[in-house]
């Protein structure tokens, strides 16, 4: 992965140890450090922009470059659980996450710090949001402030590497014994390739970090059984918290000790505060991570003009270096604190509030503090903007008063003439109710009889989604979804989970949804829509919707990818068990395609993704695909089906049935297999051909479960269309390796599993009792 830079022409790195120079990004450097540390366990879950850390480690693992056991979790909460459990086992544990994923694991973090099990978590900073934003700011980081984890900051890829080596040593130090966060900026640092010096030999890394201390209890020592995590009420609990508080404050001096050791080794020194031209500074800017670097260039420029400007950027914000900050600001007339996240209602971002507290605590009443919230959601922070921050400080220094202590920076009012106006009229009811699709229960058996017209007639029906969405060419999601929607009469209210379909249809200020649509994060869409369904029925019962001209009930559809059925499995099952009148429609493209093709549980065995790499030591995904349809069938909901656009009439009928069940009986779950040409590494035009082959190979059988009774709706064997799985696999780049020599065993294992599941399904088809 890492590329060595030719060093002949460069200055030799300082320090006592032999070093290399590589050219890589922040994410790569976090992974590089982790592989040198050779952690025991990483439990992870994909989320931008931190996902690459696991990807790089997986790539290195496939080449045999480290021994870290990489465990793909079902969600960040699960990943934090894996990490916590692993940490109680006394070995070394690593993780990386961002934003909402971090918040999803938040509950676990105080558990780990409170029970004092060290590990290292790389928090690749990104905005925590609704409306969804995947770019860099510090709103996730600010949620970390109260978790009890020491937090190290890394302004560029070099520091990411260095802090990762320091972090594990800090976490394990007997005076600290706390899990540690290394924080760096999403995209700005995580994705920018830079020249970085690294320790050349793993042995030197090992020598620096040392063996993990063995003097602490852990869960794998049979001669010393322990109870980890008791039930602890007052008066004991506060004493545990006090111990933790002391350990946290210890972390500052321990960091200084380790940092000095590291400086000797590498020539790179990290004081608690990174200070730039602060010796005689009169005005300063305080900022975390990458944007502080931009300010340094500006300070140089201002110095040429005779302005005594400096920059403060802490290398550690937990514990907060209160005294050191008070010391450095003693002679500074004014400082502008840039917070890359707000603490809504607090009259300042967290850093400004804490800096003001530091000054007050240490008796400094003269330094003026100006606070600006900037750069939210990845908004770039340019040098000319940094200059304005210095000017704010200068102005306050001159006037001796801060006119506006708190404000936003970089927000814009917009022009009235650009205010949004409706572009399309709502779809007409009569167009959506074609009357061409009918579903009638048989009077005696109750069995549903479905009539559908030729697809040609349905071209008159308006499409629910508008053209102009930003999906990749040949994306199978939209043809699949629209075919399903064609089978539904009347109005739909849709909720889309986070995923490709959501992201490409709602890039603000655009939306490709002609009818009402809601998004929620992809662990929770089923629950969210079930809430709306019940609100609809209750408001209708109370007569509140009459005035809105509602003549028919909505059909409520929750659209999710296969990833959303991993992380959202719990709420989906809860929704199924409560049997709400709605449809869960899963588009399965066999991976987390929105974040760059990581494996999901639905990824079939052996398939290559960015976290199931192919190499001498690994051959794609090591375990079998999840059978979500059968899991949902086991909840005994009224209707479960599978479908693909390659069998259009089959899917259309199932859509019509799904609507009937969702209106009359309760929850429907359906899975449609759709092509992702980009990550399946297949030709754009072959979308239908590939999913057709998946059906004919019996990997993806078309069937339905009506009130517990299974019917195979298309049997490739009966039609004489059955093909070997290899005929399907050869159509995709991601599976080419499975057809090569050396993969026979895995291919056979996969083939047998496909056959076993198919035979089992056939048996269910034969018997109403299975």
């Amino acid at each position: 992965m890492s590329i060595d830079v030719n060093q002949e022409e460069l200055l030799k790195p300082g320090g006592a140890v032999e070093q290399n120079i590589v050219f890589e990004s922040g994410n790569e450097m976090a992974a590089y450090a982790a592989h040198q540390i050779n952690y025991h366990i990483m439990g992870y879950y994909p989320i931008s922009p931190s996902t690459e850390v696991a990807q790089f480690l997986d790539g290195m693992k496939a080449k045999g470059e480290h021994d870290i056991v990489l465990i793909p979790a079902d969600g960040e909460h699960g990943s934090a659980g894996i990490c916590y459990g692993a940490a109680t086992g006394g070995g070394r544990v690593f993780n990386a996450t961002s934003a909402n994923g971090f918040l999803y694991m938040l509950e676990q973090l105080p558990v780990q710090s409170g029970t004092r099990f060290p590990m290292v978590l790389n928090l690749v900073n990104r905005s925590v949001s609704g409306p969804l934003n995947i770019h860099g700011d510090h709103s996730d980081l600010y949620f970390a402030l109260n978790t009890g984890w020491p937090i190290l900051m890394a302004r560029d890829p070099q520091i990411v590497y260095d802090m990762n080596l320091i972090a594990i040593k800090l976490a394990e130090d007997p005076e600290v014994r706390l899990p540690v966060i290394v924080s760096f900026d999403g995209y700005f640092t995580s994705h920018q390739k830079r020249r970085v010096q690294v320790l050349k030999n793993k042995e030197d890394v090992q020598k620096f970090i040392g063996d993990p201390p063995t003097s602490f209890p852990h869960a794998l020592d049979r001669e010393n059984p322990v109870t980890i995590g008791p039930y602890m009420n007052e008066p004991d609990y506060i004493n545990n918290c006090y111990q933790q508080s002391v350990a946290m404050y210890n972390a500052e001096k321990v960091f200084e000790r380790i940092s000095a050791e590291y400086a000797q080794l590498t020539g790179r020194e990290y004081p608690v505060l990174d200070l730039y031209r602060m010796e005689d500074a009169e005005v300063a800017v305080f900022m975390l991570n990458s944007a502080a670097e931009v300010c340094k260039d500006v300070a140089d420029r201002l110095r040429l003009k005779g302005i005594k400007a400096g920059v403060i950027s802490p290398n550690m914000i937990r514990p907060f270096p209160q005294q050191k900050l008070a010391e450095v600001l003693k002679n500074v007339k004014a400082v502008t604190v840039g917070d890359r996240a707000d603490s809504y209602g607090g009259y300042g971002g967290n850093m400004a509030i804490e800096l003001r507290a530091a000054l007050q605590t240490h008796g400094n009443v003269s330094t003026k503090v100006i606070n600006r919230i900037y750069g939210l959601g990845g908004k770039d922070f340019y040098a000319d903007e940094a200059e304005q921050f210095f000017l704010l400080a200068q102005e306050a220094a001159m006037k001796g008063i801060v006119e506006k202590p708190f404000d936003y920076f970089g927000h814009a009012p917009g022009k009235t003439e650009n205010a949004p106006q409706r572009v399309l009229n709502p779809m007409k009811k009569e167009d959506l109710n074609t009357g061409l699709i009918t579903v009638t229960p048989d009077e005696k058996t109750g069995e549903l009889k479905v009539k559908i017209p030729p697809l040609r007639s349905l071209t008159k029906k308006p499409k629910r989604l508008a053209s102009g969405h930003g999906a990749c060419p040949g994306c199978g999601i939209f043809s699949g979804l629209e075919l399903f929607f064609k089978g539904i009469e009347g109005d739909i209210v849709a909720l889309f989970h986070t995923g490709c379909a959501m992201v490409v249809t709602t890039g603000y200020p655009y939306s490709s949804h002609k009818a009402t649509y809601i998004h929620n994060l992809f662990q929770n869409g089923s629950a969210t829509l079930s809430g709306l369904v019940e609100m609809f029925h209750e408001r209708k019962r109370r007569g509140e919707l009459a005035e809105l001209g509602l003549s028919d009930d909505y059909t409520f559809v929750m659209v999710t990818g296969d990833g959303g059925m991993d992380i959202g499995m719990g709420p989906a099952i809860g929704t199924a068990l409560r049997n709400h009148k709605m449809i869960i429609l899963e588009y399965d493209n066999e991976g987390y395609m929105n974040t760059g093709s990581q494996l999901s549980y639905s990824t079939p065995m052996g398939h290559m993704t960015s976290t199931s790499s192919v190499g001498s030591f690994q051959n794609g995904k090591p375990f079998h695909h999840k059978d979500t349809a059968q899991i949902m069938a086991a909840t005994h909901i009224p209707y479960v089906f599978t479908g693909t656009e390659a069998f259009d009439r089959d899917l259309l009928k199932k859509a019509a049935k799904a609507q009937w069940y969702a209106k009359n009986e309760g929850l429907v779950y359906g899975k449609i297999l759709i092509t992702c040409p980009l990550n399946w590494k297949s030709k754009d035009e072959l979308g239908q051909t590939i999913v057709e082959a998946a059906v004919n190979s019996c990997f993806f059988p078309l069937y339905e479960v009506d009130r517990g009774i299974t019917t195979v709706t298309y049997d490739p064997e009966e039609k004489n269309k059955r093909i070997n799985v290899s005929e399907w696999l050869k159509l995709m780049g991601k599976t080419k390796h499975l057809l090569k020599e050396g993969s026979q065993e895995m291919l056979q294992q996969f083939d047998q599993e496909v056959e076993r599941r198919w035979r089992q399904l056939r048996a269910k088809h034969e018997s109403p009792y299975l």
Binding site: N6, E293, P420, N425, T459, T505, P509, S511, E645, G687
Partner: protein, 336 residues
Amino acid sequence: MSRLPKVNELGFFEIRLESIGGLGANLAGKMLSEDGVVGNGLNGVGFSSYGSEKKGSPVKAYIRFCDPETNIRDTTPIERPHVVGIFHDALLKTIDCASGVYPDSTILVNSQRPPDELRELMKINGGTIAVVNATEIALEEQTKVNTAMLGALYRILNFLDPDSMKDTIRRTFEKKYPHFVEPNIRTFDRGFHEVEFMTFTPDEGSMPRPFKRHEPVLGYETQPIGGTVINPGNSILKDLSISRAGMLPHFHDDKCINCAACDTACPDFCFVWEEKADKRGRPQMFLKGIDYQYCKGCLKCVQACPVEALTEAREYNDGYADRNRVPHLFDLAAQN
């Protein structure tokens, strides 16, 4: 060691690549920055614009080079490039690719058009325009546009050694895709040799072209609270034709049996239908044509068509799509 021909006030030589996702500008940017640093002894940084947009949407890649001793602190996008590489001239329709160029910057365009026409299109005064038909080269060599563009860029960036880039190409492909190495080296060489230049002297006293930062259409006074979009379906206002990477479907009315297989297959809802009387005088749906404004050229429809009513074709600068576009008749809200 390489010497940079010119640098800005912070000591950087800056390159901006303008592309659409899928043409490989991100990878080209990575390879270029890597080769400058690893193979040519410079210091540098490479990064891309990252967003939710997928293959087929506009993307940018940025590369900064400086002397090995220069410290890199700037993480912001490049606004004043010394060199711009435009991976697809269709971008010029919707994006100001030349924004912020110096009067003597070099702009490389993947195009079939002559330099003076491109100069008109980009509204630039002076500087050098380099043209290479990278799409043609990539289609012929079964590779991607990016390596051809890199070849052409190495003619422009004469402080970098083309042989070291060939090593970078080898290193990039040989492990995972060894069969791509030779075609990519050929593609690089062809880009290097086939690029053509024309230099325009700027008018007396002409200033650097100002860079316009992206400004949002809405703001805090006009944005409905909570981010709610109150005019959904407005994505029909977008033009996605730039997503096509050289191919598009042709529709042959006379062969169409109106089976709607194309309508089912199309991810972008490009097929336009109208209701007419059939032979027996009954109302029936007939396929009228393709709304090329949304067609990304995936050709799924060609594959799905059971007859030969849809065929695949190369897209040239001959206005075919504009001439043959059958626009959707949307039910537009009255805008007063």
